[in-house]
Amino acid sequence: MTYVARLDAALVGPRRARRDLLQEAADHLDDATEALVGAGYPEAEARARAEADFGPVDVVAAGYQTTLAVAASRRTAWLLLAALIGQPFLWDEGIDLIGLAHGSAPGTRTYAVLNETIEVVGGLMLLGAVAAVVAAGIGNRWVHAGRRIARATAALTLVAVVFLPLNAAGLLTASADGPAVWCVVLVLLVLPLLVAAGSARHTLAAAAPTPPRTAGRAQ
C-alpha cells in the first residue's frame, strides 16, 4: 500500500477536498523524490526519504483531517444558512404564507407562545449559521477553525433540524391548518433542513477527535 493510499485510508471528509489534498501530497512526494534522485539517491531510497520528510501518516492525517472537518462544516453552515435565511420572509414578513393560509393568526396563548419561540430561536439559529460560515472562513484570521468549531456547527444544525420543524408543526396544529400548508412547510422548511442534516452528519464524522498517537504505531 503506497503512502498516499494509507493517507487516503486514514481520512474522512468531503470527496473533492480530500482528493485535492491527496493530489497535492502525491505531487509533493513526486517532486521531493525527483529532487533526491537528482542529488544522487537511488530511486527507492529517495522515495523513502521523501515520505519520511513528509511525516508519519498518522501525524499528517491529523492535520489533513482538521482541514477536511472545517471544509465539511463550511458546507453545512452554508446549507443551514440557505435553509433558514428566507424563513422570516416566507412566514412573517413578505410573502406571509401562514397569513395567506388562514387569514389571521389564531388568538390562543399556545399559538402566541409557539410563534414567539420560533421567531426567537429561529433568529438565534440564523445568527449561529452566519457565525459558523464566518468561523470556517474569514474567521480563521482571528481564531483557527478546528474540529470543535466543526462539531459545534454540526450540533447547531441538528438542533435546528429537530426543533424548527417540531415548532412549526405545533404552530400548524394550533392554527388547524390544512394539508396544503403542511406540504408548503415540508417543502420550504423541512426538506432544506434535512439536506443540511445530511451534511451535518458527514461533518460530525469528519470532525471526530483523532485517537491519541500510540508509540510504535505503524506509519
Binding site: 485535492d20 489534498l21 493530489q23 497535492e24 501530497a25 505531487d27 509533493h28 513526486d30 517532486d31 521531493a32 520528510d53 513528509f54 511525516g55 508519519p56 501525524v59 499528517v60 492535520g63 489533513y64 482538521t66 482541514t67 472545517v70 463550511r74 470556517a136 472562513g137 474569514i138 474567521g139 480563521n140 484570521r141 483557527h144 477553525a145
Partner: protein, 114 residues
Amino acid sequence: MKADALRGHLDALILATLEHSPLHGYAIIEALAARSGGELDLPTGTVYPALRRLESAGYLRSDWSEETGRRRRTYTLSRAGHKQLAAARSEWTTFSRVVGGLLGGIPDAGPGFP
C-alpha cells in the same frame, strides 16, 4: 535555534515566501527550508493544512495549473495576505527591538524577519 519558535511564526513565514511570486506547495516548503537555513524542521506534510487555513482566511488564493506535465495547486498572496504580512513584519520588528533591548547587546535586531 529551537524549531518550536519558528513554528509559532509559520503563517507569517509562509506568507513571506509568497510575497513576490505565486508558488506551489513543494516550492513553498523548499523556500521555507532555504530561508530558515534548515532550522525549520517539521514534517513537510504539515505545511499543507496551514496553506488551506490561510486560504480560508482569505490571505491566499489557489488554483490548479498544468506545469511540466503535472497538475499543481499554485498559491498566490492576496491583498489581505500582503497586509497581514506587513502587520506580522511590523509586530516582529517591535518584538525583536524590545527583546533585543532587554537582553542587551543587540542595538537593532529588526527588520530581519522573515
